[in-house]
Symmetry: C2
Subunit: 416 residues, 2 copies
């Protein structure tokens, strides 16, 4: 079904799904969906999205960081603005829902309201950010950080694999980086920021729920762990005389898993593990692995990392191995605004659906607004929890529910 | 000290160490010791060793598989022959003791006997095999297998990385592969085979003993294990919903280690472990690792492999992961001859040294003689148990003890 037909005849969910299909044809690579920040495909997608915004009754602009912004003025000259957004950049070989779902859902909801002659007592800005996935440059969330007034201009010098800097890429896209300060909003004029996004996890599917309300975007600690034991011949060194770095690591991995399991709303993952110079007949002398700990509670996360470290040290000591733990990336949790979340929950309940609250394990643009602009997020069930993959899927029926929740939510905000 | 001076003035151990230093200068690579089977360096080393054999009173020949053989006739027309050997090929970037120690020690012991006018009531053949490390061709132990009459001529078609076949390389070396049958001994005329070799493990060093008597060359089972779980986002999949292939593997590794530790004279090692397509923020969906189980007891080894398999299956089942265990290389243990071992032990005791018996975790040419020719082995302490590495080291004092044990052993055989 084509988008133009869908908006006239189908459900909102079907219309959104059709537009997501259109958007998925815009890629930097011929046979898979890859739309990196400030790429030709990003430019084309930005123009398509801006056109949809105008069709939905909004005026549009593209700010200094290439965020596409569609504005629907308030009905009664209200001075406040509600932001609704997500992103239209993708990872390499992406699915079609991550980010784009939130942008298109917002546009279609505004369009439906516009077509029904509906106005709200506050302005609405729908934002399509372009720098959420962090694939092209070292730092990420450039669009939302600029909007929050906290973009560090040093990041303009970052270069991607093609040697092109963020500054150069912005100019090539048609942006003027010198106008960055104008991209920042005045927080006192902002009601808040709301984002619809696929869950990218399996919780809603497991519980048979189409949508859920996000409590917080998890904080994260990453670390690089190195274990040094003693390499040896697999045939000649008796078991009691070994200092096997891989066996030590195995014990550590189980300790990490156990600590992750010991509390709700905490996850601890070892994603990479390497045994340099390994051979089938050699006792591993060195192992490197990564650690990723996340929680909506910073306190929980910090305590878990400290306790994991203690466990690892005890295991290394007992096994006569040397241990190095280098803490890398660390980010605090971003807590969703209670009032916005409560209204999203009320809108979900209005549809007869249990308002399940859950943390977000993945990062989102909303993080950039932490302690600056109140924000809330609505998650949509996705099949198998799969994301960052062409198999990513959310059903038109679930998307339709998300759209109706968003519309209901706007009315609730408007009625206060 | 040069070998020629050493034999006149120093201990046997010093003489042997000096000749090992000479031999270590013969390499296929300029900056490290690499002497592959049938290479130019092997040819040069074979000629040097043959010269030393003649200097020691032996007649020499090179057989169809490029084994260098020096023969000392019996004193009284005795028809039996004792074989003493090891190998002069090396791994890449090798140490100077692995293999060559046994060849040079045998030559220097015969030389000492010869210079003292001593003869034995049996002939002695000192053999320098050339195909023990198995670096150049797929199969290995070609020299000892030919001698045992069990070389499979199909192996002549094997080609190394340079595209040269074993057959072609033998001809280039100066051998005639068609005369292979002549390389086989008549077992009824052979008293046995004895080999001196560095331990390549840490047991003798730990126990403060210069030498030890080998009980058996361990049998080995190798397997490739694959675990399939479900990949997922490290942030979004709650711990109880994960099927983490790496966490499952960690539990398996500890089960393997525990089974290896549960019995003496059994080792179980996971040498390689790979997490294909891993990323710091991805729950591992697939892990491949290797298993290497060795024991001087085939029964112990087979039972341990079966029990490990059961443990792995139980862990995979409990964690909802799929498991594949593919058994690869399997070799039965080769048991050392009791009479030869007892005489080696008696010779060790004669020097006031505790005759420690221990299995060999690594493979040796003697394996080719299993159930065909009785064999015994004497291990020499090596520093840190290190082998296959330039840091490989056995002290002249320990080598001297090994040489005196071998001489005493020859006298014990002769006196019966």
């Amino acid at each position: 079904m084509r988008a133009t037909e869908a908006t006239d005849q189908g459900t909102l969910g079907e219309a959104i799904a059709a537009r997501l299909a259109d958007l998925a044809t815009i890629s930097d690579e011929p046979d898979r969906l890859t739309r990196l920040y400030l790429s030709p495909a990003h430019r084309k997608a930005a123009d398509l999205v801006a056109g949809w915004m105008r069709e939905a009754g909004m005026t549009t602009r593209i700010d200094a960081m290439a965020s596409v912004i569609g504005r629907l003025e308030a009905s009664d000259g209200g001075t406040k603005t509600l932001l609704i957004g997500s992103h239209i950049d993708t990872v390499r070989d992406a699915g079609r829902f991550d980010g784009t779902l939130g942008v298109v859902t917002a546009i279609e909801v505004i369009k439906a309201a516009h077509q029904a002659g509906k106005r709200f007592p506050f302005a609405i800005e729908v934002i399509a950010f372009g720098d959420e996935e962090g694939v092209r440059f070292d730092s990420t969330l450039g669009g939302s950080k600029a909007l929050a007034g906290k973009f560090d201009t040093k990041a303009l010098d970052e270069t991607g694999d093609d040697g092109v800097s963020r500054h150069q890429a912005l100019i090539a896209f048609g942006c003027d980086p010198s106008r960055l300060p104008e991209a920042a909003v005045s927080p006192q004029h902002i009601l808040g920021y709301v984002e619809v996004h696929i869950e990218q996890g399996p919780v809603l599917e497991k519980e048979g729920l189409p949508v859920g309300i996000v409590t917080a975007i998890n904080g994260v600690t990453r670390a690089a762990v190195e274990i040094d034991g003693v390499a040896g011949h697999a045939g000649t060194v008796p078991m009691p005389m070994r200092k096997d770095a891989l066996a030590a690591s195995a014990e550590m991995l189980l300790a990490i898993e156990a600590r992750g399991r010991a509390q709700q709303n905490l996850v601890a993952t070892v994603g990479k593990l390497d045994v340099p110079g390994s051979a089938v007949n050699t006792i591993p002398g060195r192992v490197c692995f990564t650690l990723d700990v996340r929680s909506p509670s910073d306190q929980k996360r910090v305590r878990a990392v400290a306790e994991i470290r203690q466990s690892l040290e005890a295991i290394a000591r007992r096994r006569g191995c040397a241990l190095q733990v280098a803490i890398g990336h660390e980010a605090a949790a971003a807590i969703c605004n209670e009032q916005l979340s409560d209204r999203l929950a009320a809108a979900v309940e209005d549809l007869g659906i249990t308002p399940r609250r859950l943390p977000s394990g993945a990062g989102h643009d909303a993080m950039a607004f932490d302690k600056i602009i109140p924000f809330g997020m609505l998650f949509v069930r996705c099949r198998g929890g799969v994301s960052h993959n062409p198999d990513e899927y959310a059903s038109p029926a679930d998307i339709d529910i998300a759209a109706r929740v968003l519309l209901n939510f706007l009315e609730r905000i408007g009625s206060q």
